[in-house]
């Protein structure tokens, strides 16, 4: 599988993603520049975290209009896999590839810390090797991460099993105190209806290197590549 990491001006988790996919996961990975249209034959596209175009208007609002996004949207519509992390998730909702929106955290503050996530489905490429009973320790780092959607969309997400992760406590309980940003129903990540586009606010790439003392995030990438790496 060939991975492509989209680089917008202001992306700042692109190198981290390339490091995890290339060096730790030993995958073929290239960076894709926002001014290009060419996806260079990539199978799996990653829209990484950061502040694309500065995010001064609204997170992800400008990035969706960049040349590369036309190709990303076409790739997704043809059934290709696209994953958005943090700012990438915001961009994918702005681009209409994922439903709902990410609003300012309910405490009005940027927050960076470890939180816990509980997988809600293992029926996607991205979650197939995860344990739905386990709480995964993964960092968040965002100011606009409060997931919001209309009641109709929310019902559709739940009915179709499109909620990938909910925020939970260390013991896996999904409750209000474990919700770091006020997200609707503790939603931390979702997929589209076709189950080929994924978005999540937490950063699994920040929990993948042994040197950082937390490798809970590796499982997410191992799911995607379909193998377990030691």
């Amino acid at each position: 599988m060939k991975f492509g990491v989209i680089v917008f001006p202001g992306s700042n988790c692109d190198d981290d993603m390339v490091y995890v996919l290339g060096k730790l996961m030993q995958q073929d990975v290239v960076k894709l520049w926002h001014k290009d249209h060419d996806l260079q034959g990539c199978d799996f596209l990653v829209v990484p975290g950061g502040f694309a175009y500065g995010d001064y208007l609204r997170a992800g609002a400008i990035a969706r209009f960049s040349p590369i996004m036309e190709s990303v949207i076409a790739h997704a519509q043809n059934g290709g896999n696209v994953m958005g992390i943090c700012n990438g998730f915001q961009i994918l909702t702005e681009a209409g590839l994922l439903p709902g929106a990410l609003l300012q955290n309910n405490n009005q503050k940027y927050v960076c810390k470890n939180i816990y996530l509980k997988p809600q489905t293992t029926d996607t490429l991205f979650t197939r090797q995860l344990n739905a009973e386990q709480a995964y320790k993964i960092p968040i780092a965002h100011g606009e991460g409060r997931y919001h959607a209309s009641p109709e969309i929310l019902k559709q997400l739940n009915d179709n099993n499109q909620v990938l992760f909910r925020y939970c406590d260390q013991d896996g309980n999904i409750n209000e105190t474990a919700n770091p940003n006020g997200s609707l129903e503790n939603i931390a990540g979702i997929s589209n209806e076709g189950r080929n586009v994924f978005g999540m606010m937490p950063h699994p790439e920040r929990a993948s290197d042994n040197l950082l003392g937390n490798t809970d995030g590796r499982k997410f990438f191992e799911s995607v590549i379909g193998q377990v790496l030691v």
Partner: protein, 755 residues
């Protein structure tokens, strides 16, 4: 040339002294015009030319075999870390802007220090900051704290470099004048280091990055006077930051430097174009001709002095090899940044500026800069009366408390001791996936150098209260505590950068504090073999306010010579953390307990007794302690290490117990130790470290320690869930965690309005 010549009155309005105006006329051989005089006024400001401090700064130790760029040579110090890599690191203040506009003041502080790092070709990998605020119960303090933290966060988070540590203290001396010092460390391959120099007659000079506006004009001069109630009128002196532009500038700059077509490059910070052009020219012993009409501007009709002095952020001046212009233009075009050729390097030694074809300023570069003709002052100083008086302090004069649980509670929720979680959670501490401290707390931040099997170990430290009590000892403690923190995290202290924050240098007692502090830094750095690679001096940190009676009251902040220490870890196996690991592990104190509560938070805040000496300190004992702890870590004998600092032994033990929800049980009376119980628990006498060892390692540990010169004793054991002293439970771990983790948030977000 502009005809309108200046007078001594104009010079004084611009903040120059009468004798400085005379000196300028002598250097030029004529009377300067307004543009030229403005250039001198900023370049000869304290902020740019260090005129009140340089004589003393020159005495700091600068050399070591690892030093690739010594203090003053480049924008930041450069240390060889092996593997073909070097670390560029520096600390810089943004105190005055933050006092009147905390958000932008702090944000541009982060921007400025990072440009100093990447202008050398280094990619910043970690940020630290050191902050000082006034009484936390004041609304003004909360306003400043909120603004500064949001400013640092918004800038650093978007720029994409993690903030991995720092320190914060509250003291009413900082009520009007907070301190905001930002530290950055970056990594560069030693063959890709860029220099801030102008060479090669005919080489083109480019300005790149943001357009130039009217923000921050005379910012350097503003930073060189006292903060007063009228300072808000200086608001236009504060710059406005754009982290997105800075991120683009970083990527474009590193790409351009990698082409090897860059002759020299310098960021624009204080004093803008005039500073970069004159410093690069003076360093290269060349001149520059600059056409101000070619500088991209944000607004029309800017006057020459405004363009020269503008401190608009996110800009660089670049000298490129002639013939390679297009490559540079292409890279900046790729990143959608301005890149304008505005001049050339000349054979003369003057910087000359033109507008509409007219020569508007013509100044010998050397006349403007530090190390050239910029003035140097030797101020007189006097030992203040309080100094000898504070030294009379005796622990015996203070009554022992009757309720130790109450003291423990008091300290666990003191603003100077509690967790800074409310602050650091607003900073992205993990971007870059190299901060190894997130899941493993330690006395210093450990940041992995990707591509090499090593880490940098960094920390910032200074206790202004100790420095006030005894500036020389206090500054030595700041250096040694930063080194101790690096050692306790498993690193080797290598070099320091310092940020010397003091009051008005013309006040003889303030200047005495400055001089004594520099002497302390010299002595400690020589002993530890950690040279000073550079840094920043910030004078005029005082507030003149109007008293109720109507008179002017001027107070200097606590003297605060902040030390930023760079350490190295060449073997990642040597990492050490501060948290207790297992119930039953045995707790030892290494270093000698003293019957001393001087300078402690306990004495100052609990007893409200502020006139004491610095805590006990002995440089030789400190050195021996650090060598011993280093050996214990390398030998894999200990499970945790945490140095005893603010709040004393009790707080140190609590901080080690809380991360894993553990507790401790200790004794305070020993046959061979004659120390009062409060001094034993809460005293801050220096050069002590708490370590834990597994029970089965006890014999080996004691055998090893008996061979060392450093005293040690077994103080207790790691337990399950409470803090027990002499069989009495002073707090449960749960109670402690609640107040320790949440007090600052309760102050800031309500619930503790006037606790």
């Amino acid at each position: 040339m502009e005809e309108q010549l200046t007078t001594v009155e104009t010079a004084m309005q611009l903040g120059l002294l009468i004798e400085e105006f005379e000196k300028i006329k002598g250097l030029l051989g004529r009377t300067p015009n307004f543009t030229e005089l403005s250039a001198f006024s900023v370049m000869w400001s304290e902020h740019c030319c260090y005129k009140s401090s340089i004589l003393w700064l020159k005495k700091l130790p600068k050399s070591s075999p690892r030093m690739l760029a010594e203090a003053g040579e480049e924008n930041a110090g450069l240390v060889d870390i092996g593997n073909g890599l070097a670390c560029a690191f520096k600390i810089e203040s943004h105190n005055h802007p933050s006092a009147i506009e905390p958000y932008q003041g702090a944000a541009t502080g982060v921007g400025g220090i990072n440009r100093d790092i990447f202008t050398m070709g280094a990619r910043p990998i970690a940020l630290l900051n050191t902050l000082r605020f006034g009484d936390i119960n004041l609304e003004k303090t909360k306003h400043l704290l909120r603004g500064v933290v949001k400013g640092i966060g918004d800038y650093g988070n978007a720029f994409g470099v993690p903030t991995v540590g720092g320190e914060v203290y509250f003291d009413s001396s900082y009520n009007t004048n907070p301190l905001v010092n930002a530290f950055s460390a970056g990594i560069v391959e030693t063959d890709k280091v860029a220099s801030a120099i102008a060479l090669g007659v005919g080489n083109p000079v480019f300005i790149v990055g943001s357009a130039t506006g009217k923000d921050g004009i005379h910012g350097a001069a503003f930073a060189s006077k006292d903060i007063t109630e009228d300072s808000a009128k200086d608001l236009p002196s504060v710059q406005v930051g754009d982290p997105f532009q800075e991120k683009l500038l970083l990527e474009a700059t590193l790409e351009v430097i990698a082409t090897k077509n860059v002759v020299g490059i310098q960021d624009m910070g204080a004093a803008g174009i005039i500073c970069s052009s004159s410093e690069m020219s003076a360093k290269g012993e060349h001149g520059m001709d600059i056409d101000l009409d070619k500088v991209p501007l944000r607004q029309e009709n800017m006057l020459p002095f405004e363009i020269l002095l503008s401190e608009s952020q996110e800009r660089m001046l670049v000298v490129v090899e002639k013939g390679k212009e297009q490559e540079i233009l292409d890279i900046f075009d790729k990143w959608d940044l301005n890149c304008a050729e505005i001049g050339t390097v000349t054979e003369s030694s003057n910087v000359r500026f033109f507008q509409k074809g007219e020569l508007v300023a013509d100044i010998p570069a050397n006349a403007l800069v530090l190390g050239g003709d910029a003035p140097i002052y030797e101020h007189s100083y006097t030992e203040p009366d309080y100094f000898q008086q504070y030294k009379q302090f005796k622990t015996e004069d203070v009554p022992e408390p009757t309720d130790y649980a109450e003291v423990a509670q008091f300290l666990m929720k003191h603003p100077n001791i509690v967790s800074r979680q409310w602050i650091y959670e607003q900073y992205d501490s993990m971007v870059g996936t190299a901060n190894a401290s997130t899941n493993s707390p330690a006395d210093a931040a450990v940041v992995h150098v990707k591509g090499a099997d090593q880490a940098i170990v960094i920390t910032v430290d200074c206790n202004g209260r100790y420095v006030q009590a005894d500036p020389k000892i206090g500054a030595m403690i700041a250096v040694c505590e930063s080194a101790r923190n690096v050692v306790c995290a498993g690193g080797d202290p290598v070099a320091i950068t310092n940020n010397l924050n003091f009051g008005n240098p013309y006040n003889q007692e303030v200047y005495w504090q400055f001089v004594q502090s520099v002497k302390g830094i010299i002595e400690a750095c020589e002993k530890l073999e950690t040279p000073v690679t550079g840094g920043n001096v910030s004078f005029y940190n005082q507030a003149s306010t109007v008293s109720k009676e109507g008179g002017n009251v001027t107070n200097a902040v606590l003297p605060t010579p902040t030390i930023g220490m760079l350490g190295l870890m060449d073997n990642l196996e040597h990492r050490m953390t501060l948290d207790f690991k297992n119930v039953g592990d045995i707790i030892y104190v290494i270093g000698e307990p003293k019957n001393d509560i001087a300078g402690s938070e306990y004495l100052t805040s609990y007893h409200n007794f502020k006139e004491s000496s610095a805590p006990h300190f002995d440089l030789e004992a400190e050195y021996d302690l650090q060598q011993t702890v280093k050996a214990l870590i390398r030998d894999k004998q200990i499970q945790s290490a945490h140095d005893i600092s603010d709040g004393g032994l009790f707080i140190t033990l609590a901080e080690s117990a809380m991360p894993r929800d553990l507790g401790f049980s200790i004794l305070t009376t020993f046959d061979e130790i004659d120390v009062r119980k409060d001094a034993f628990l809460f005293g801050e006498s220096q050069s002590r470290v708490v370590v834990t060892i597994k029970a089965e390692d006890q014999d080996r540990f004691e055998d090893f320690m008996k061979e060392q010169s450093v005293p040690f004793f077994e103080v207790g054991v790691v337990t399950v869930s409470d803090f027990k002293v002499d069989t009495h439970v002073l707090m449960t771990t749960e109670e402690a965690k609640d107040v320790y983790n949440n007090t600052l948030g309760r102050h800031m977000d309500g619930g503790l309005a006037h606790a």
